[in-house]
């Protein structure tokens, strides 16, 4: 319940304040969002598997975001930023799909 409220609160704040994204962060924000989504799906799956832990979730959430941003940052410095961010999105997308499949099996048994 509190978690759902937190999600709704974040969305509402984003809609109300409409903040401008600093130029330097514009390349990292979409990657960070995808990484956070991956962390959330992984956490939900772990919860259903009965191995969920708050601390582990929070740490994995932020470390996922940081590592994804770091990979893109290094890619930018090496001149392959566009390709590396595509790679990060592909990998995270695959993880999100497999997590979603596990969640589906847990809840729907299908």
């Amino acid at each position: 319940m509190i978690a759902v409220f937190g999600l709704i609160l974040g969305i509402v704040l984003g809609l109300i304040f409409e903040p401008q994204v600093p130029i330097g962060l514009q390349a990292y924000l979409p990657i960070a969002v995808v990484a956070a989504l991956d962390a959330v799906f992984g956490a939900f799956r772990a919860f259903l598997d009965g191995i969920f832990d708050d601390k582990v979730f929070v740490i994995s959430f932020f470390s996922n975001v940081l590592i994804a941003a770091l990979i893109v940052f290094v890619g930018d410095k090496l001149g392959v930023g566009a390709q590396l961010s595509t790679a990060v999105v592909v990998v995270l997308g695959i993880r999100i799909f497999s997590n979603a499949a596990a969640i589906r099996r847990h809840l729907l048994h299908a």
């Binding site: 509190i2 409220f5 609160l9 704040l13 984003g14 989504l37 919860f47 979730f57 497999s98 048994h109």
Partner: protein
């Protein structure tokens, strides 16, 4: 997937677990809520950013630099084109301006020369002299005197009897029937029209021992009247003869 399929019993358990977490949240959910709030916030911002139809905003630095290079090369080429075309335009403009100035100068020169040569009608201040000569005593010498005195007084254009223009090549002749200028017979009463300063021209003819005095001396029945006019018009023109012998020579 490597995960083995959960048993049907675990499906019920999973649903129960979700329900319990939803209805009776533990204290640890606050952290989860914070993380999800950040996720929602960032997701909304990102959706907004990519929703703006600014194609360049989401492009990467390297691509933007490449595009910028392309644009600046194109704009350099365009600037070179502009510079070349402007140079051509300036050249054409100065050429045509120079041509126009030369044409204007030549036209003004031609008009001045035409008045002196008698090929163009002329008007301006001047005098009109009327001479009644019942005994036909006016001689070619008198006419030459009149022309000389008018020229001495600065006459710019002279005409006799409204039909004979006096120019550089004019000549006066006389035969028993009367006077001729350039072969055209003049009949009394004579009129002389001259353009110039009216006072000077009139003074030149009426000065003591001048033209008027002389003709009166020869025949007291001659009546000469000199009137100063603000504007007189000389309409007769001559057709300039083509010189057969004289040719333009370089000035030294």
């Amino acid at each position: 997937m490597s995960q083995p399929d959960p048993t049907p019993g675990s499906q019920e358990e999973a649903r129960r677990k979700v329900k319990a977490a939803f209805l009776h949240p533990g204290r640890g959910q606050i952290w989860i809520a914070l993380a999800l709030a950040i996720l929602g916030f960032a997701a909304v911002i990102q959706v907004r950013v990519s929703g703006q139809d600014d194609a360049y905003e989401t492009m990467r630095q390297a691509d933007l630099i490449q595009m910028l290079n392309g644009f600046s090369a194109a704009s350099r080429r365009a600037e070179q084109d502009i510079a070349g075309l402007e140079k051509t335009r300036d050249k054409l403009r100065s050429t045509s301006a120079g041509r126009q100035a030369a044409l204007d100068q030549a036209t003004a020169e031609a008009q001045r020369v035409a008045i002196l040569a008698g090929t163009s009608p002329a008007e301006g201040p001047g005098i009109r002299v009327t001479i009644e000569d019942p005994n036909l005593k006016i001689s070619a010498g008198h006419v030459l005197d009149a022309i000389e005195e008018l020229r001495d007084a600065g006459a710019e254009s002279i005409e006799f009897n409204d039909r004979v223009r006096v120019v550089a090549t004019s000549f006066v002749s006389a035969d028993p029937a009367g006077l001729k200028i350039d072969g055209v017979r003049l009949t009394a009463p004579y009129t002389i029209t001259a353009i110039g300063d009216p006072a000077t021209l009139a003074g030149g003819l009426t000065v003591e021992q001048g033209f008027v005095d002389k003709v009166l001396e020869d025949d007291s029945r001659i009546k000469a009247k000199v009137s100063k006019e603000k504007s007189v018009r000389i309409d007769s023109v001559i057709k300039p003869p083509k010189p057969s012998y004289a040719k333009p020579a370089d000035s030294r």
